[in-house]
Symmetry: C2
Subunit: 459 residues, 2 copies
């Protein structure tokens, strides 16, 4: 492919020269639609440049739609429509703009779109639209079918023995925490929270006037020693996959924590937001499952394991709280779509939920493995990977003095979006932690993303 035998000069970055050359060859139709381009390795060899140089040039062409990548086949020229292009692209190349297009987005809290069981969900949803309940406000505590399916699922997957009478449906973890805050604020003036921890939960407690006591996170999760030193009798935590560090609280510590709640007449709010995805061992039993009559309020959500747009979460209240809770909220209508609730009930009843979770566990396990392997191979010991045993993201601890902001900007300059963690900390820790999610990235995108990060960070 002699058109690509470019004479590279030193006046601008080499990847930019390659990008511009290929782009103009496509715009001038010298390289027509569907032409197969040389691989990243081949082009690097032809031009005597590093593979990273050709990789970045291709990534840019990909992002702008000049070329496409076909799995295991390589890169191909896309259809070029000059008129359309003039409308959507500025006259100067995007390369010269400050804001890069995003090539790989390591956002956590996304969902694998390819794997979503759209047909089964739509079928259940359309069935539900024929039911009379569509015309009503729905059950106060949440749809009974969904609650009964949840009680079955919680036993099977988390060892939690409960009944639909103890389950309250809500639209999100935050919405349920709002109700809990209103319910508990007369008995408790403060709440102990993890540090680092989920800022969205802290915000809800603050909005309701709770005083916050940050408690350190160690390798066994929330430090029970520190918890004991706070005056709080109420604690909010994520014991199974600590948010955001990913550590897990072992069983002996769980028993100690349950004991703490009993001794103090306190309550534990256990947020089990992504327990569905554990890759290396069987899930550790939920706090709620460890002790009969445990003083635990258990929270779960469909946002991570299914989709966030239906806004569907749930909580399990202990026996001693269920009656006063329901009494307190008599007259407050359920705020979650009863159509989605019933649809999820049918979806679970028909077995789609179990198979979806099984499938996603395999998919996400493979993605996690790819991300961790790529990171280790590329960065070696200059980084530490935290929390790869479960969940849909890892934290990367970076040695040295480079600040979070700078790392994010460097990544962005090559079109990679990575995420900060400093807002999870109430008191800043040593070192810099970057968050990388992968749920909606393909294996190839994960690989490309890590390569680009290496290029951007240069350590």
């Amino acid at each position: 492919m002699k058109e690509l035998l470019i004479q590279l000069n030193d006046q601008s970055p080499k990847y930019k020269q390659i990008y511009e050359r290929v782009r103009s060859l496509i715009e001038e139709s010298v390289l027509p639609k569907n032409t197969k381009l040389p691989s990243i390795r081949q082009l690097a060899a032809i031009l005597h440049v590093s593979r990273n140089t050709t990789l970045i040039a291709y990534a840019q062409l990909l992002a702008e739609g000049y070329i496409r990548s076909e799995e295991k086949r390589g890169y191909f020229v896309e259809a070029f429509e000059p008129i359309h292009l003039h409308q959507t692209l500025p006259t100067k190349s995007i390369m010269q703009k400050k804001e890069k297009p995003i090539i790989v987005d390591f956002r956590a809290g996304t969902v694998d779109q390819q794997a979503f069981p759209l047909k089964a969900w739509r079928r259940c949803s359309n069935e539900v639209l024929k039911e009379d309940m569509v015309y009503t406000y729905g059950e106060h505590q949440g749809d009974h079918l969904l609650r009964s399916q949840l009680s079955r699922y919680l036993l099977q997957s988390r060892g939690i023995q409960t009944t639909s009478e103890h389950i309250i449906i809500g639209s999100s973890t935050q919405q349920l925490l709002m109700h809990l805050s209103l319910f508990l604020k007369n008995r408790f003036s403060s709440v102990a929270v993890e540090n680092p921890g989920y800022d969205g939960a802290r915000l809800v407690f603050q909005l309701h006037g709770f005083h916050l006591h940050p408690v350190k996170i160690g390798i066994k999760g929330l430090s029970l020693e520190h918890l004991g030193k706070t005056p709080s009798k109420l604690v909010y935590l994520t014991p199974s996959h600590q948010f955001p560090t990913g550590v897990t609280m072992p069983v002996p510590e769980r028993h100690q924590l349950l004991k703490w709640a009993e001794t103090h007449n306190g309550f534990i709010i256990e947020d089990d937001y992504d327990s569905e995805f554990r890759y290396k061992q069987h899930p550790i039993p939920a706090l709620l499952s460890l002790q009969h009559g445990a003083r635990v309020i258990y929270l779960g959500t469909f946002s991570k394991a299914f989709i966030p747009s239906i806004r569907l979460s749930y909580m399990v209240l202990p026996q001693i709280l269920i009656k006063p809770y329901l009494e307190r909220f008599t007259g407050i209508e359920q705020c979650t779509s009863s159509i989605h609730q019933r649809t999820m009930g049918r979806f679970m009843e028909q077995g789609h939920w179990d198979s979806h979770i099984r499938k996603m566990r395999t998919t996400y396990k493979q993605k996690m493995h790819t991300l961790v392997t790529c990171l280790q191979n590329t960065f070696g010991e200059t980084i530490e990977i935290i929390g790869p045993q479960s969940g849909l993201y890892v934290l990367v601890k970076i040695q040295g003095s480079t600040k979070e902001d700078e790392l994010i900007q460097l990544a962005l300059s090559l079109g990679v979006k990575v995420y900060p963690t400093s807002h999870y900390f109430l008191k800043q820790e040593e070192g810099t932690f970057i968050k990388l999610g992968f749920s909606n990235l393909s294996i190839e995108q994960i690989q490309l993303g890590v390569q680009l990060l290496k290029q951007a960070w240069r350590f």
Copy 2:
């Protein structure tokens, strides 16, 4: 139909004897499936009893599934399946049980199921399921398409000039009031509320620690004189169709109220929950539409005019509040299904919403007319009908000393469910008010219901 020539005795109520005779004729297959029965009038003439007597007997047979009513054709014998019957019916007749089956339910807050545009909604919903937004958390303030459609609709239908930037989507009036309470409680310690008024709103304010100042309702809605005597600078009201009395605040009073808010640096929370259904005149413009920069927080809902199960409401914030509100709730996720939001956006965009509202206005107008005419013809001056100009229910004020509970029980004894209003009052008024909704009743059911009420109440 000589089988129906029953010899009536005085040992039990006549309607009961007729009911039992017809029932056994059907059970013994003397009257086979699909036999046309004499009309209520004919049977009354044959047996020399009043029409109410035959009406109640038929109503009972209808409720138990022995006969069916076909519009404009009359009453027919239903298929009788003895085995099935033995399983579901107790050996003794339902007539002897304390709990009557409900024949006519005058519940408000229901929806006309026949008229629901199921196909268009399902089509929009299935289109939306193909969109990428299904896999995301959705926009913080609410779906942009829905907000832009709402701003168009609010201008057209309520004269409100606003932009999508001022609209916040929520899942229900109560949920939006919860957020407003959290937002406003630092500036206001009390709120003035209508008496009688919406108890669901009062409950939310109370949960958030507001002191309530009840303000009397007159024929022009909330008494501005009484409002002026309270220390509140925040007022929650339903000016267009006062809940539950149905009165409307005239335009001059609206201007006075706006002036009050301005003078006091206060805010008006205008709940416009069913303004879509006004039958006698053009809707009075919303408070928010009367003055540029009005200190009004406007609330609307899809629960009454569409369906409650999707849990979709909205509010319009004044310019001075929008920025601080959004700042306060940064980090709090939208809790309304973004699938339903986008579906409603498409539904409105494609014109289905406007035609649905037009159609429902005609349907509900006819039902309201039937209810009011029947009540007037049947009860004359012994009752007063309040609020027939708009909305989906009326209040019936009953003279005399019969208590609310007793009226409800008497109605129930003939299978009619009517609703109390005493929980809307913070201080009890003179007279007894019964609430009658009609949205999901047919014209025939409304007529039958009023006849049964006459029989039950006997005044």
